[in-house]
């Protein structure tokens, strides 16, 4: 190797470093995951294909239903969509009442739940993951757009504190409460509809819920305004004016929008505004 590093050659420390790293690598088990990767990719491809078909068919069926309704003097046209199993009983009751109405458009459920959820806000400005390996103790959210309060708020990173940026800052409820973290690449490395998609979106039924393209290019489910997402003790709700509010049962939570960040720990609020 050429000495492009412009440093004195190897010494005892760099030699030991090289040996140590190699020893660590040699100790690493390498399980074969080829089949799992291929199957997961195929499932993702089918889902995307199915969503494309749904995207085409929904307006077509809607138009047919509209025309049918006109022809039958306002009668109910079309078949109600299948109710997903994970929508709560209250939401199901609400939906079943609504399905009897003359409206072909389904209202969002009051609550969605699962062991892990991922979603984007209707505007696309907020992306969140609840539970799973990503946010095992609560929820993690970030903004895909610039925050008014961002430049004034410093947050923790492995290299000290740095100013918040929507490029790499996240807000989360974890084992140490509600806090911010600035490092890495925010959510850009997270594929909301990838191999983890099924795990993170167990409530998601594209026949009923809107989708958006997330910041990283993947298709993600939209959490409608007014619907509460629940994973364990953590609850999140998005409002058009206030952004997303998340709370856990221990007086821990946050409210995140482009205008404000409020962190709540032990019932005490810390606010950041422009």
């Amino acid at each position: 190797m050429s000495n492009e590093w412009n440093e004195i050659g190897e010494d005892e420390v760099t030699r030991a470093l090289r040996q140590g790293l190699q020893a660590e690598a040699d100790r690493t088990p390498v399980p074969d995951r080829y089949d799992e990767i291929v199957v997961a990719a195929e499932q993702g491809r089918r889902r995307r294909g199915w969503l494309l078909v749904a995207a085409v068919m929904v307006p077509v069926l809607g138009a047919v239903g509209y025309l049918g309704g006109r022809l039958t003097s306002g009668g109910l046209a079309g078949t109600p969509a299948q109710v997903p199993a994970t929508v709560t009983a209250a939401a199901e009751a609400s939906e079943s009442k609504q399905s009897a109405s003359a409206s072909a458009r389904l209202s969002p459920p009051a609550e969605v739940s699962g062991s892990a959820l991922a979603f984007v806000s209707p505007s696309g400005a907020i992306e969140c993951v609840m539970g799973g390996t990503r946010a095992p103790d609560g929820v993690e959210c970030h903004l895909t757009v610039k925050a008014v309060w961002g430049p004034k708020h410093r947050c923790e990173s492995v290299n000290g504190t740095v100013p918040w940026s929507s490029d790499y800052g996240v807000v989360f409820i974890g084992s140490e409460g509600a806090t911010t973290y600035c490092n890495g690449q925010g959510f850009t490395e997270l594929d909301l509809s990838g191999s983890d998609g099924k795990r993170y979106t167990s409530w998601y039924d594209p026949s009923r819920f809107e989708t958006r393209t997330a910041a990283n290019g993947s298709l993600a489910p939209v959490l409608p305004y007014g619907t509460t997402a629940v994973v364990g003790q953590t609850r999140c709700q998005i409002s058009q004016s206030g952004g997303i509010s998340c709370s856990r049962g221990d007086q821990t939570g946050f409210r995140l929008s482009t205008q404000t960040l409020v962190l709540r720990n032990g019932g005490k609020d810390t606010s950041y505004t422009g």
Binding site: D11, L17, L21, R33, T188, E189, D191
Partner: protein
């Protein structure tokens, strides 16, 4: 370390991916383990990177994939590190060495100590040192993998090695 780029295959997409997998899987799992400092989740990180490759194969299969996969693995490891950072503030006692006493000569003990010291460095410095001393990458390749300038790579490397030397000096 010389890394060959996947050759263009006249055969099916499956054949292309099989060849990419065979060429890169084991090496990337080991790289992820070294970057993470543990074998836990190393294969998961590389699995995600491979899935990303498959999802974008129409675009990526036309060219070399080594850089894409390496960057995806580094990003995946960074994501795991971020969630470990809170725990790292209250570190648990270091695990016992895997190798038995009869396998550990003087050199291995020194290597263990350097690795232990490496894990105390800032994440970026660790990444640079791992890519340099384990993967044997050039300045330019490390800069590309980490998305930073070559000057920053040199700086992180210099600082990292300096701190390691200091730490080892104190320990000896």
């Amino acid at each position: 370390m010389v890394e060959t780029e996947p050759r263009e295959h006249a055969g099916s997409a499956d054949e292309w991916f099989r060849s990419v997998y065979d060429e890169h899987w084991a090496r990337l799992v080991r790289l992820a383990a070294v970057l993470l400092g543990s074998t836990d989740r190393a294969d998961e990180v590389v699995q995600e990177a491979m899935l990303g490759l498959l999802r974008n194969r129409a675009k990526l299969s036309k060219g070399p994939v080594t850089g894409y996969l390496r960057t995806a693995v580094v990003n995946g490891c960074r994501s795991v590190h971020r969630h470990r950072a809170v725990v790292a503030k209250h570190p648990e006692p270091a695990p016992a060495p895997v190798a038995g006493p009869e396998e550990r000569g003087v050199a291995t003990v020194t290597a263990d100590a350097v690795i232990e010291a490496l894990r105390t460095l800032p994440q970026r410095q660790q990444e640079v040192l791992v890519l340099r001393y384990y993967s044997g990458l050039s300045e330019a390749e490390i800069a590309e993998a980490l998305g930073i300038s070559r000057g920053a790579v040199k700086s992180y490397s210099h600082r990292g090695v300096s701190v390691l030397r200091q730490l080892m000096g104190r320990q000896s």
